[in-house]
């Protein structure tokens, strides 16, 4: 599926800072990644690790002030999204980049019917008439599996269940056939059976429509089920990046390993306690000069205090193409990794 030749999205050196009264918060620190055509990139990390902020920075969805993008390039095809005007960016949002948010209960406007909300981007970006947009909205609702689509156009969000609302959100995000779909924890607010339905739907749509997807989650189980490649984020940085199989088979960063250990096992003897990662992700008040994970890391040593590890490839492939990790200890053997 991945096509090495032309990444649809190429992000380099992205830095996002929040300016608050208490000083600056460095939420995204020198993040670089790319997204191949048709690829599904999983982004994992705890709350506060900078996943959502990174993705919202890409298309200018962060309120500014306080957010400020300090550096970087975000190439969507031939266009640098950080250089174009606000108007040009609006023409990208919703048309070439679709966004799905975490909470479907609040992400739809309660006072407009769903037909109107789906038709809005169609009319704006595709120049459709009311009738054309309504027709397309029905197609989209059918595509995301809402029964009786034509009848439900006039319904308001509160008349839909949570799972159905998330389907409506997906329909809105897909309305203009985007190249990239960014899904920001789209299943977190849903119960498990609905979550499974939504995952199935996205898998199916991906094959049908062939778009690239960035899937933000803190659920590694979801990543294992759908992703091609995974990026692990911590402290606003990418700490490990690998094809999904490599990451699960050979986790390199202590944070990744700790995350994997937190997944409770369904087989074998019952563990006495659920595994946790002690402590909390740091609040970055300055650009990192030391490893962000050192305070919670069992392997930290002198160098971690003074030298922020850079991402380096561990499988001989160019950085970002294969398996890379930002840890002074890496590479470690697979046996040590699971120890």
């Amino acid at each position: 599926m991945p096509d090495r030749a032309a990444p649809v999205l190429d992000v380099r050196g992205l830095k996002t800072v929040f300016r608050t009264r208490g000083g600056e918060i460095h939420a995204v620190n020198d993040v670089s990644f790319h997204l191949e055509r048709g690829e599904l990139l999983g982004v994992v990390g705890e709350s506060g690790s900078g996943k959502s902020v990174t993705m919202m920075s890409l298309i200018g969805l962060l309120p500014s002030p306080p957010a400020e993008i300090r550096a970087g390039t975000v190439m969507l095809g031939e266009q640098d999204l950080l250089k174009i005007s606000a108007d040009q960016l609006r023409a990208v949002r919703g048309a070439r980049v679709g966004f799905i948010f975490q909470d479907p209960m609040t992400s739809l406007n309660p006072v407009f019917n769903v037909g109107f909300q789906i038709a809005e981007p169609l009319r704006r970006h595709m120049g459709m008439t009311k009738a054309q947009a309504a027709k397309r909205a029905v197609e989209l609702l059918e595509l995301v599996g809402i029964p009786d689509a034509a009848k439900r156009l006039g319904d308001y969000p509160h008349q839909f269940s949570g799972g159905m609302r998330q389907r409506v959100m997906i329909a809105i995000a897909l309305a203009c056939d985007p190249d990239v779909l960014i899904a920001d924890e789209p299943t977190t607010a849903l119960d498990v059976t609905i979550q499974a339905q939504i995952l199935e739907l996205v898998k199916e749509l991906r094959v049908k429509l062939g778009m690239a997807i960035i899937w933000i989650t803190h659920d590694l189980g979801v990543i294992a089920a759908i992703a091609d490649r995974v990026m692990v984020m911590y402290g606003g940085q990418i700490v490990e990046q690998a094809p999904v199989k490599d990451l699960f088979a050979n986790p390199q960063h202590p944070y990744t390993r700790a995350l994997l250990k937190t997944i409770p096992s369904l087989t074998g003897a019952r563990e006495a306690r659920l595994q946790v990662i002690e402590g909390q992700p740091p609040i970055m008040t300055a650009a990192p000069t030391a490893c962000a994970f050192r305070a919670r890391c069992g392997h930290a040593f002198d160098r971690c205090e003074v030298d922020n590890p850079k991402r380096h490839a561990i499988d001989g492939v160019a950085l970002g193409q294969g398996h890379d990790v930002a840890c002074h200890w890496a590479p470690v053997t697979a046996e040590a990794a699971h120890a």
Binding site: A91, G94, F101, S107, N109, P110, V111, H125, I172, A173
Partner: protein, 335 residues
């Protein structure tokens, strides 16, 4: 919605009956006599006759029931007769003012146009100023505009109209000489120059009250906009690539208007109540002035009738506000 409205209308009947009784009894408790403005040279037996002639010597319950009949049957019938030339009222006694001996509704009919033109315009102007200020203040929170808007609202809130009105008279009438100090109730608008004159004499009371009204409503608008500005659906609208104009003036505003419309609707009865201080200050001979005059003269029928009319308006506009709420917010269904 229709069932809800009908149910509320039916419920309003007992409510208003209770209110009318309470008003009647409370007003009756007030000290004073309808003869207090009659010269002392009039001998007591003549005074007694006058009180009997007014029906003021009757027990309070008798007067109450009589008033009910007059208010709900004689007055509407008289109005109907006036329109269609019928004779439903059959010459029955209307509610008479003890002070002027004229029917209370005739006096109200004379006063209400002044009140509605001046106070109504002030309310409208206040709303029209307040909404844009509230919207823009919220959109640019803590900007210079917002700070000035807050200052404006604080002034409107805290400075009483007798002070701001006097200040406005000093500035615009005395110093600048743009507007007349007194409102001429007898001015009839017949042509362009008289219309301009009417506008000029309305300007100052409208400014005074408009400021006070705008202050309250702009605060409501601002806080309601702020509440909605951070909602997830706003981010969704931005993610869809909608322009700021559409995001703010369609998505956010439509949600923010729900509580504000209610506040505006609930404020309308106060227009009919008149603004007693402002009317007095500028010499607008409206309902507020009539009420004050009636209270001074212990003109019980006038006070009772006016108070009851305000009660009816408040109940009505409460209902209207509830219905509007349901129309604006699809999540609210009363049935």
């Amino acid at each position: 919605m229709l069932t809800f409205t009908l149910r509320r209308l039916l419920l309003a009947i007992p409510t208003l009956f209770v209110i009318s009784l309470v008003i009647f009894l409370l007003v009756d408790l007030a000290p004073g006599s309808p003869m207090s403005e009659i010269p002392l040279t009039v001998p007591p037996e003549v005074r007694k006759k006058m009180i009997e002639a007014l029906g003021a010597d009757q027990p309070v319950m008798v007067r109450y029931v009589l008033w009910l009949r007059q208010f709900f049957w004689v007055e509407p019938a008289t109005l109907f007769d006036g329109w269609f030339g019928t004779n439903l009222a059959g010459g029955e006694q209307r509610i008479l003012s003890w002070q002027s001996r004229a029917p209370v509704f005739t006096i109200i009919g004379q006063r209400i146009p002044q009140t509605l033109t001046v106070i109504g315009t002030a309310y409208l102007v206040g709303v029209l100023i307040a909404l844009p200020i509230g919207i823009y203040s919220a959109y640019r929170q803590y900007s210079l505009f917002d700070q000035l808007g807050t200052l404006f609202a604080m002034i409107g809130f805290s400075v009483p109209t007798f002070f701001s009105g006097t200040l406005i008279i000093i500035i615009f009438a005395v110093t600048l000489g743009w507007f007349p100090t007194k409102y001429d109730t007898n001015l009839a608008v017949t042509d362009w120059p008289s219309f301009l004159q009417q506008l000029r004499q309305m300007a100052m009371p409208v400014m005074t009250l408009g400021l006070a009204n705008a202050a309250v409503i702009s605060r409501y608008m601002r806080s309601s906009m702020l509440d909605n500005m951070t909602m997830d659906y706003v981010r969704t609208a931005r993610a869809k690539g909608m322009s700021e104009r559409v995001v703010v003036l369609k998505h956010v505003l439509r949600n923010s208007m729900i509580p504000v419309v209610t506040v505006i609707a609930l404020g309308i009865p106060s227009i009919f109540g008149g603004a007693i201080i402002t009317e007095n200050l500028f010499g607008v001979n409206g309902i507020g002035a009539a009420l004050i005059g009636a209270i001074h003269a212990s003109d019980l029928p006038m006070v009772q009738t006016l108070a009851f009319i305000f009660a009816v308006l408040i109940v009505t506009f409460n209902l209207i506000a509830d219905v509007l709420y349901g129309l604006l917010d699809p999540r609210i269904r009363y049935d």
